[in-house]
């Protein structure tokens, strides 16, 4: 805690350790209770590990190829675009950006979206999630989270004082027994189990479609089941749709907000970083009915207040172009999934050939693979107490130079132990990276 008595002659500038004070017992825990138990973070741990070892990195979800040139040019143009590009813009979103987002998504969902009432621009979709939870979740509210889930939902709900209630997607057993290769479509919710999670304390449900890490793209009927429950129980739906353009094999992305009765209770979250393969720009948004979005704005104006102007301008330019080219072959929102589809198939083939059972994703950036059939001597004592997939991933990094992410990180603390046999690969990588991964896996397979 670093609090020491002034009267001590030796001034101990202590940047590492803490001294308890006498008295003032309330001060012994310097940090606020709201951050209790949310200090561990898989990305901090695993990206450090990937950096420490020379690895082929199929771990964290970001492209290692360049964003489309027109978007990089748009940023350069914004940078050279005069004084106002470098100064504060409107707090809730740079006007050209919110205007084009309203126009673009209004056309997608089929009704008018008000640029200044229904949209909040945030520092990545991550901050949109944070604003949503902080704005709407109170102490002891329950939030239903479908597993596996992007890991930040759980600590964010906790930080808002809420309670995560988990319901897992499960592989449909008949497909498994039939020996067919699993796809993410084979992982489904039990409607009864889902319904049983709703109660008067339920404030919200979080869905993520396409899903990270599984890649599931929820069908309209599946979303309807969720929507019916939201309406019946008067619950808010938080729909994380950052991978909305990335669907494969004819899977269609459906926005739950477009279902009847859902616009007024849904916050839909999107990402410039994922849309334009520029994750480092950190431009995201929340779109929803004004009366709900205004609460997100209150959080935003009391936390970061503005987002960077030039990046927003560039994303606006990107959407302007995509608005005009939507549905045509020149649209990046068609070209990107086409390109990624090839990579998806390439990785799946490679994993199958070395005995790692992939679950073919219908959408998104990632593929998960069942490692239960692999027999590996994980003789690293430093990871002894960790779940099997964590140990395996660390071993794979250190011994084989290949980085992935353990899937139990995407499960609740309660269910983690039941899902320790999957690892997640990101295939949004240059072919050379995927080839290098393939080499490693083949060599390893040959050794066995």
């Amino acid at each position: 805690m670093g609090i020491y008595r002034y009267e001590q002659v030796t001034i101990f500038t202590c940047s590492l350790c803490a001294f308890n004070t006498t008295g003032n017992s309330g001060k012994n825990n310097l940090h606020a209770r709201r951050i209790e138990g949310i200090d561990k973070n898989i990305w901090v741990d695993f990206t450090q590990l990937a950096a420490d070892y020379k690895v082929v990195n199929l771990g964290q979800g970001f492209p290692d190829f360049s964003p489309p040139s027109y978007i990089q040019e748009a940023l350069c143009k914004a940078v050279n675009g005069g004084c106002s590009m470098h100064q504060y813009t409107h707090a809730f979103g740079h006007p050209p950006l919110v205007s084009i987002l309203a126009k673009f998504f209004g056309r997608v969902v089929g009704h008018e979206i008000d640029a200044f009432e229904d949209i909040l621009v945030t520092v990545g979709a991550y901050q949109a999630l944070f604003c949503t939870f902080q704005a709407l979740v109170d102490e002891e509210d329950e939030v239903i989270i479908i597993e596996p889930f992007f890991d930040c939902y759980q600590p964010m709900v906790k930080m808002a004082g809420g309670k995560g209630v988990y319901v897992p997607l499960r592989p449909v057993s008949s497909r498994v027994e039939g020996g067919k290769a699993l796809t993410s479509a084979d992982w489904v919710l039990s409607s009864e189990e889902l319904a049983s999670k709703f109660n008067p304390r339920t404030k919200a449900i979080v869905i993520n479609t396409p899903n990270n890490p599984l890649g599931k793209v929820y069908k309209r009927e599946e979303l309807q089941v969720i929507a019916d429950l939201c309406i019946k129980h008067d619950v808010v739906c938080i729909s994380d749709e950052v991978y909305e353009w990335l669907t494969y094999d004819g899977a269609k992305h459906v926005k739950i907000a477009s279902l009847p009765g859902m616009w007024e209770r849904t916050v839909t979250i999107g990402s410039g970083g994922k849309s334009f393969s520029a994750t480092g720009w950190k431009v995201g948004w929340a779109i929803g009915a004004g009366p709900i979005v205004k609460h997100l704005k209150t959080v935003h104006q009391n936390s970061v207040y503005h987002c960077a102007t030039a990046a927003q301008e560039a994303v606006a330019q990107g959407f302007q172009r995509e608005y005009e080219l939507f549905g045509t072959p020149e649209s990046y929102f068609l070209q990107l999934p086409e390109m990624l589809n090839q990579k998806r198939k390439k990785l799946a083939t490679c994993l199958e050939s070395v005995g790692l059972q992939p679950i073919l994703p219908e959408g998104g950036y990632f593929m998960i693979s069942d490692i239960s059939s692999l027999k590996v001597d994980l003789n690293d004592p430093s990871t002894q107490d960790e779940p099997h997939d964590y140990r395996f991933v660390k071993w794979l990094i250190k011994e084989k130079g290949l980085a992935t992410i353990p899937v139990s990180a995407f499960y609740s603390p309660e269910h983690r132990k039941d899902f320790q046999n999957y690892i997640r690969f990101c295939f949004v990588k240059e072919d050379s990276t995927l080839n290098a991964a393939e080499d490693i896996l083949r060599k390893w397979s040959d050794l066995k």
């Binding site: 805690m1 670093g2 020491y4 002034y6 001034i11 500038t13 202590c14 940047s15 590492l16 803490a18 001060k27 310097l30 606020a32 951050i35 200090d39 973070n41 990305w43 990206t47 290692d64 964003p67 990089q72 350069c76 050279n80 106002s84 590009m85 470098h86 504060y88 205007s99 009704h111 008018e112 979206i113 008000d114 200044f116 520092v123 901050q127 944070f130 902080q134 709407l136 109170d138 102490e139 930040c152 619950v235 616009w263 007024e264 209770r265 994750t279 480092g280 720009w281 004004g290 009366p291 709900i292 609460h295 104006q301 009391n302 936390s303 970061v304 207040y305 960077a308 102007t309 030039a310």
Partner: protein, 457 residues
């Protein structure tokens, strides 16, 4: 079309006219009361900037309101951003707590300023502006039921951030020295009463926030004043949150202070016993005149910074990469030049001092007595000599709010009311003051001068 409508309707709300209902409410269906805001943001939706900054979109208004430059940032900083944007991997995620080249550059610059090594990975957190650092600090360290001492006038976000953390703001005003004639007042003449300050510390006091140079008054706390504060922090085992976003903008004051003593702004953390209990907050936006980049940083001991990092990883995770890289490049360039006139940290202060003096002269020429700031880029002035009777505007708002709204409408000149920066109990003390931002082009200052000269015409 949307933008014009929005600006117009905001301006209409601003000047209290029955205005166009700006939005069709087809999507504002009756929502259930269950979809109301969480308790933590209850009452925090009002914000002076949301009310006044729509004014910035109207080019006919001379805007000395919100604090951002209309002068260009230095060319090398813009070039650094353009260069970064062209590098593929700089368009992807970087390290959550701060891009490595940036935290290393910060470690160099501030290591020099503090006179001791600063660990780039453990003692620095990069945030979305100084604002983001304030938020991370409050969320990390301020508990429900705590008290946080805030000195008035204060940058307005401190109070709602303290409240959002469930704590109680405890306010104490700076006061004009009683023996001071009003004809030539400096921000140094606005001081704390040490006994009054001591009385604000209780067993619940978790932290005190100081802002030096201060926004809006421009005060630079002296070593003696900081010593008084630090003695109380140590006695009561309190944290100190030191908002130093204007750290480089230090002017020659009534006492002759050499620009080299910019290091005195760091004294809070270098006073004995203070490093371990202080978070110091800075801003790239204010340092490089790029407020729209929204990058800032917190520096402090590991045992405190680690909690801010926990907040960061659960709120927005990482800041934009190309912007961080560009700020790193800017810092490295100016690090080499530190202490020399070509260093932007010095040259900006020199340029702004000229504008400060010009702004003061403009106000004095029309009979007003500005508070000459020792630092920062704002000037507060008592508008009483202008003798505007605004009783026709009702009395539900403090005088300065009415004055600013009236001035925007009638004189096309924007400022910010200083009671936005104080609590209710101090409103009477500050309600005749408005804040003017002078980090503006000469043509903007010329236009302001013309308006003031023609005031009574």
């Amino acid at each position: 079309m949307n933008i014009t409508r929005r600006t117009l309707s905001s301006a209409c709300r601003l000047i209290n006219i029955n205005c166009i209902r700006n939005i069709s409410c087809s999507q504002c269906a009756m929502t259930s009361s269950r979809h109301t805001n969480s308790k933590r943001i209850e009452g925090l939706d009002k914000n002076v900037w949301v009310a006044f900054t729509s004014v910035a979109a109207d080019p006919t208004i001379v805007n000395l309101g919100q604090g951002y430059p209309d002068i260009p940032p230095p060319a090398y900083v813009k070039e650094a951003l353009a260069n970064a944007a062209a590098v593929d991997k700089l368009n992807q995620y970087t390290r959550g707590f701060g891009h490595p080249s940036l935290v290393k550059a910060l470690s160099q610059v501030y290591g020099k300023v503090y006179g001791h090594q600063i660990d780039p990975f453990k003692e620095i957190l990069v945030t979305v502006g100084g604002y983001g650092s304030l938020f991370s600090t409050m969320q990390a360290l301020v508990e429900v039921g705590d008290e946080v001492i805030i000195i008035e006038p204060f940058f307005d976000c401190y109070v709602p951030m303290v409240r959002m953390a469930g704590a109680t703001p405890v306010l104490i005003p700076l006061r004009l020295r009683s023996n001071k004639e009003t004809s030539s007042v400096s921000s140094a003449d606005w001081v704390l009463d040490p006994e009054e300050l001591a009385s604000k510390f209780t067993s619940k006091t978790k932290a005190i926030i100081i802002n030096t140079p201060n926004n809006p008054i421009g005060k630079i706390f002296t070593k003696g004043e900081l010593q008084t504060i630090s003695d109380l922090c140590i006695k009561h085992d309190t944290l100190c949150i030191s908002d130093e976003v204007y750290e480089w903008l230090i002017y020659k004051g009534h006492q002759h202070i050499k620009i080299g003593t910019v290091l005195t702004s760091k004294q809070m953390s270098t006073l004995p016993g203070m490093w371990d209990r202080t978070i110091t907050i800075s801003s790239a936006g204010k340092t490089f005149s790029v407020t729209g980049w929204k990058l800032g940083w917190s520096i402090g001991p590991e045992h405190l910074i680690k909690h801010l990092q926990t907040v960061m990883q659960n709120t927005l995770y990482t800041c934009p990469t190309p912007l961080q890289e560009a700020v790193a490049q800017g810092l490295l360039r100016d690090y080499e030049l530190m202490g020399r006139p070509e260093c932007y940290f010095s040259s900006l202060a020199v340029e702004l001092e000229g504008k400060r003096d010009r702004m003061a002269a403009i106000l004095q020429d029309v009979g007003m007595s500005p508070i000459i700031p020792e630092g920062g880029y704002f000037m507060c002035v008592d508008v009483t000599p202008l003798n505007e009777d605004l009783s026709h505007m009702g009395d539900d708002e403090p005088y300065d709010y009415r004055f600013v709204k009236w001035m925007i409408k009638e004189k096309k000149l924007a400022a910010i009311p200083v009671t936005a920066f104080c609590g209710d109990a101090s409103k009477k003390q500050f309600e005749k003051y408005v804040r003017l931002c002078f980090i503006k082009q000469d043509s903007t200052l010329d236009a302001a001068e013309a308006i003031l000269k023609n005031w009574n015409k």
